[in-house]
């Protein structure tokens, strides 16, 4: 039996069960802050000073991720008020804007956050290129990034249809008409005669669930936008962040001592 003085009180027990460590500023606690927190543990416990500089990373990868999180949170809220049918969608949008408390700002943050994400991802790619950070050993993470870029634009594109107004419908019509021109599998593309695809059986019909943008297209885009693409994008983001660490952390100029052994820095 340990003496009573060593037994923690109730609140102390709760506190320690959650945090596992104290918060006084010791080197050990600084490391534990990161390694004992599932979210912060995305990061390594230590990081090269170089990778901290906003002048180097422009903070663009992190801000792209922040915009993704904003659209996830606001998007879930919008889903409470939105039905993906041609009869209801537009009415729901009007209600959201005029009847639902804070509906308009939820919608605005979702829309502008998505636009910001597209721009920030482009700028992130630009910085990664200009700083030569795609060079070995980070080639694969660059290709993962290109997939994320594509997914970001597809997320934005599928969401564009959902308000079901004139802007949405015709923008998606213009965009998906391109699919009808795909060689061999689009009914207006070269080689359509060889494969015999029609406007009801070609790749655009698969995308839209029919020959034009209607009810079926709205449902398809809704499911892609709210379920399928966010999950796929999340999976690739996990891979992307993991690989930033595995490829040796944020890139930087080679150290004098390890430049010879491995180009682009050590592997974490």
């Amino acid at each position: 039996m340990s003496p009573p003085a060593e037994r923690p009180g109730f609140w102390q027990q709760v506190y320690r069960s959650v945090f596992r460590h104290r918060f006084d500023d010791t080197p050990r606690n600084r490391v534990l802050q990161i390694t004992s927190n599932v979210f912060l543990h995305l990061h390594p416990a230590t990081i090269r000073r170089h990778g901290l500089r906003l002048r180097f990373t422009w903070g663009m990868g992190g801000l792209s991720f922040l915009m993704f999180l904003v659209t996830v949170v606001t998007g879930v809220i919008l889903m409470f008020y939105y039905r993906p049918t041609a009869a209801a969608a537009y009415i729901d949008m009007k209600n959201l804007q005029h009847e639902i408390p804070f509906g308009m700002i939820q919608r605005n943050m979702h829309r502008w956050g998505a636009h910001a994400m597209v721009i920030l991802v482009w700028l992130h790619m630009l910085r990664v290129f200009l700083s030569g950070s795609y060079k070995p050993p980070r080639e694969f993470n660059w290709t993962v990034g290109v997939l994320l870029l594509t997914l970001t634009m597809l997320l934005s594109f599928t969401g564009y249809l959902l308000p079901w107004d004139q802007l949405a419908r015709w923008a998606i019509t213009v965009g998906t008409n391109m699919a009808a021109a795909t060689p061999f599998i689009g009914h207006q593309g070269p080689g359509a005669g060889l494969t015999g695809v029609t406007e009801r059986t070609d790749i655009r019909a698969l995308l839209l669930g029919g020959p034009q943008v209607g009810d079926a297209a709205l449902l398809r885009f809704y499911v892609l936008h709210c379920v399928f693409l966010p999950i796929i994008a999340s999976v690739f983001m996990i891979v992307h962040f993991w690989r930033v660490r595995k490829d040796g952390g944020i890139s930087g100029p080679p150290h004098a001592e390890d430049a010879a052994s491995s180009p682009g820095g050590p592997r974490a």
Binding site: D25, R49, L66, M109, L126, G132, M178, G252
Partner: protein, 249 residues
């Protein structure tokens, strides 16, 4: 550096200039998140997302614009058939971007900004990013009006702008058989082969090797062919370079 820093840095001996992530990185993340959220919130209070009249399949707006981030591709529709502008070009953009790290063999300039050590790759990327992507988007957003005609941003869309240009095919304009169009296209891409024969002993091409060179040359010639065709259209009204029963380029 105080003792704590020095000790923490030593937890990973391979990183001589390392500092602890907490608080050095986490506080930057917190602050940038706060600033970004303030900006986004203000933006969302001040500007409302657009909502036009309800969708109407019987009323096509003129112009019908794709979402702004795809307007570069829509702009290409002026100069190329949809299967090129809407399918081949986007596919090549995605595959070409993915290929960059495997094509660029220059070991210098990894992890720091430098123009001097890699002028060629940076010039190519900026040409693609700014010239072939951003500028066409700006044109599509600000300068295209009804009939996809050119309107300066300060011009009202009601002024008559009907430009009835008659475009002709390059081979008709030159008065040669249309099959020669295929020769022109092949000649353009064989420039890559010619350059190889001429410079294959140069250090840059030796380092690249045949297969990488072929892919690089194809991508670069395709990138430069796009503004070339635009110039042919704008200067001498050429519609197609190569006309066949199956496709036109």
């Amino acid at each position: 550096m105080n003792d704590a820093h020095a000790q923490a840095a030593r937890t990973d001996e391979t990183l001589p200039d390392a500092v602890t992530t907490w608080p050095h990185l986490v506080r930057i993340e917190l602050l940038t998140t706060l600033v970004a959220m303030v900006l986004l919130t203000v933006w969302s209070i001040v500007v409302d997302a657009p909502l036009e009249e309800a969708a109407d399949p019987n009323r096509t707006p003129d112009p019908s614009k794709a979402p702004w981030y795809f307007l570069g591709l829509q702009e290409l529709l002026v100069y190329f058939d949809p299967w090129i502008a809407g399918v081949i070009v986007p596919a090549l953009i995605i595959l070409g971007l993915m290929a960059i790290p495997y094509l660029d063999r220059n070991p210098r300039g990894s992890g720091y900004y430098t123009l001097r050590e890699r002028p060629f790759s940076i010039a190519v990327f900026l040409f693609g990013f700014l010239g072939l992507w951003i500028v066409p988007i700006l044109i599509g957003v600000f300068c295209r009006g009804p009939g996809w005609n050119w309107y300066w941003p300060w011009e009202p869309w009601d002024i008559a702008h009907a430009t009835h240009l008659t475009n002709i095919n390059l081979t008709d304009w030159l008065g040669v058989p249309s099959a020669l169009g295929g020769v022109f296209v092949c000649a353009w891409y064989s420039l890559g082969g010619a350059f190889w024969l001429w410079r294959r002993k140069s250090p840059a091409l030796l380092q690249l090797g045949g297969a990488r060179y072929a892919v690089t040359a194809f991508l670069l010639l395709t990138m430069t062919a796009i503004p070339l065709k635009m110039a042919l259209r704008l200067l001498v009204n050429v519609k197609y370079v190569w006309v066949t029963p199956w496709f036109n380029i």
